[in-house]
Amino acid sequence: MSGDPYSERVRQLFEAPRHAGSLGGALSATLEDQGVRIRLAAEIADGEMRTLRFQAWGCPHVIAVAEAFCADYEGKSVSTLLEFSVSDLMQSLSVPVEKTGRILVIEDAVRSLGNIVRDASNPDD
């Protein structure tokens, strides 16, 4: 017996994940952990993320958080990736705490994308 486990926002994001998909030739990071599989791809121009796309295999909260991340971070500077934390999104989407483990996989994927982007823009390192 339980109430609705999904907030209205989670339902919307899950229903219409506008940023779901892949980007041919873009930079991308893929991670699999905690029964979650996530792939993030970014088109970068002038140190900004022009386009963000995700692919995800996981529960609705995973998909919603991934979608919310892409929607929020398109247009932002690539440096924000490395500071990304899921906690704000978890709160604004009312993700139950029991799901923290799997949502953290998204955080890891974002950081990992951040590293890849950084490495790609500093090829000499």
């Binding site: 339980s2 999904y6 893929t30 029964g35 995800a56 609705p60 029991e98 799901k99």
Partner: protein, 391 residues
Amino acid sequence: MIERAALVYLDYAASTPVDSRVAKAMTALMTVDGNFANPSSTHAAGRRSVEHIAHAAGQLAALLNTDADRLIWTSGATESDNLAILGGAHFRQERGRHLITMRTEHKAVVDPFNVLEKQGFEVTWLDPETDGVLDIAKLEAALRQDTQLVSIMHVNNETGVVQDIEQIGTVCRARDVLLHVDAAQSVGKLPIDLEALPVDLMSMTAHKVYGPKGIGALYIADRPGVHVDPLLFGGGQQQRLRPGTLPVQQIVAFGMTAEIARSRMSDDLEHLRAMHNRFWSGIRDLPGVLVNGCIETGFPGILNVSIEDIEGESLLLALEPLCVATGSACNSQIQEPSYVLRALGRSDALAQSAIRFSFGRPTRIEHVDFAIDRYRSAIEKLRRIAPERVQ
């Protein structure tokens, strides 16, 4: 045509609506101009309540081909299971302290056995074959000198798998072992003849067969040595086996429910088969779809399907406004893969993707077609979103 916003209910194995005739009779009975007297009262109004109960017991007994006085009213199959298993094992503890059941039983059976284990009883948990059915040789091998009680359900609530109760009962009876059957999912849906079946205790509930929630019964066979210790005490009702004011309106409803079920059982079954076949035809070609249980021999009211590489919780949400059940026990936010499907040999991932579609009297072709459409598009969507597996 189904409106998108309206819910489409295909979860009749979880619960059913009360037949409108039954609801009407309940209202007539329990309101001021009806027969609301306490059946424990000796006055004329109380005696009328007693007559109503006797009539209902006769209706339920007729459905099961047994005597009305073999039936004890309870609050549902959960209580009946507890009374049969805890009460039965305690009553017969001199006979032995070994018990047998299956891993695919309902929680209302599993948990009482867990309690008995803590009390020093020994329980053998049999696994089914991969189609969910018990191999009778496994039961025979598990029976011991000190085995006193076997509990095996008739129709499985998650998969619709049907056990061969007659065969199981015959094996038990040959060894003086009592057989309890949880028939919550089959009473009123499949033919059950308690004169013919070697069953000692049988649990049932009204709300799975168009009766109200909160009323059930336990059948106790009229054979020497078949009895249970009560779990509740007080008042002399029901031969002291289950006290408390008898809920006349609920009992009358269960009786009517039984009579209706009896008269339309073959029509109901035919309808369920049609819905089941239509649905299965509509999804069977999907890559990676797998039936949990058995299409041919299972109860046609239930179809449980897993699908490869799909996450169950997202699938369930993508299926809305379809109301169906996951294979998971849904008592926490993090869904555990169903222990029933795990016992059938399904991987965690496959068990987790399982959806139970269950059909009922109100199910129409449009509902089934809507479900097919939803299921296919949900699978398609989730597969589209999913990344390739990491190599």
